[in-house]
């Protein structure tokens, strides 16, 4: 597994932990109310699990296993993928903390960063979706 995939997958595991912890608190509060503020964790719960866990894991595994190029760099432009890793995680954190601190611009900025991350990733991965012999 290449180093960047290790980073993607480990970040996705951290997001899984955070998403499940927040979800667990929300569900437990639904059962026995102890802290009404847990409902404010709902956007972060969804963001961490859908983008942080599922999408990020898929990106890490795709970077690892998609067919490689014969010429170097064999997995495409590594700087783009490194940028995608950074932008995705920065975006997720911004979107997740926005309801907690209330700065509306964070959500929009976070979404733009997430979209930019996916765009960078697609730019690198598109040509790797090919027959093995090419």
């Amino acid at each position: 597994m290449p180093r960047l995939s290790v980073w993607f997958v480990r970040c996705s595991l951290i997001h899984l932990f955070l998403g499940l912890t927040f979800g667990g608190l929300i569900l437990a509060n639904k059962g026995i109310p102890f802290a009404p503020w847990t409902w404010s964790l709902l956007p972060a719960h969804m963001e961490f699990l859908l983008l942080g866990w599922v999408v990020q894991l898929a990106m890490g595994v795709a970077f690892w296993i998609l067919p490689r190029f014969r010429s170097s760099p064999s997995r495409g432009n590594v700087n783009y993928v490194r940028g995608a890793l950074f932008l995705l995680n920065a975006g997720i954190v911004m979107v997740a903390i926005q309801p907690l601190i209330g700065a509306n611009w964070l959500s929009l900025t976070g979404r733009i960063l997430e979209t930019s991350a996916i765009l960078l990733f697609i730019m690198t991965s598109w040509r790797r979706v090919k027959p093995l012999e090419v």
Partner: protein
């Protein structure tokens, strides 16, 4: 394909079927208390459980002696995820329509079990995520 993977994937497929059936019932007018159950059957019971199964099978070896890490952790993941999710599927709609201490306690137990499933999975997977 190792046994925990087969169990995780086959159970995930069952949840996919159940979620889609519940989706039909929701469209027919089953009360809204079932909507969170529908979402979690799909996202946790199907998608996440499928990922857990494939990761346990395909990720790099932990060691020659324990290529897939600690099998006991995969069984803890499987049991906690499914008991937790089933408890949720039963208790959450009941808590919405007939709130009681029993259903509330079952929801807390469900939350703990689902969290535990994730922690056991992460504990077993973390060391297998490594550079070659």
């Amino acid at each position: 394909m190792p046994l925990p993977t087969r169990m995780l994937i086959k159970t995930a497929l069952v949840y996919l079927m159940l979620a889609l059936l519940l989706g039909i019932l929701l469209t027919l007018g089953v009360p809204n208390g079932f909507f969170p159950v529908y979402i979690h059957l799909l996202v946790f019971g199907w998608l996440t459980q499928l990922i857990f199964g494939v990761v346990y099978w395909m990720f790099p070896k932990y060691s020659n002696q324990h290529p897939r890490g600690w099998e006991a952790l995969s069984w803890i993941t499987y049991a906690a995820l499914n008991i937790g999710l089933i408890l949720r599927a039963i208790a959450e709609p009941l808590q919405t329509s007939h709130a009681s201490n029993l259903f509330g306690t079952l929801l807390v137990l469900s939350a703990i079990l689902q969290w535990l499933a994730g922690v056991a999975f992460i504990a077993n997977t973390w060391q297998r995520v490594k550079e070659k």
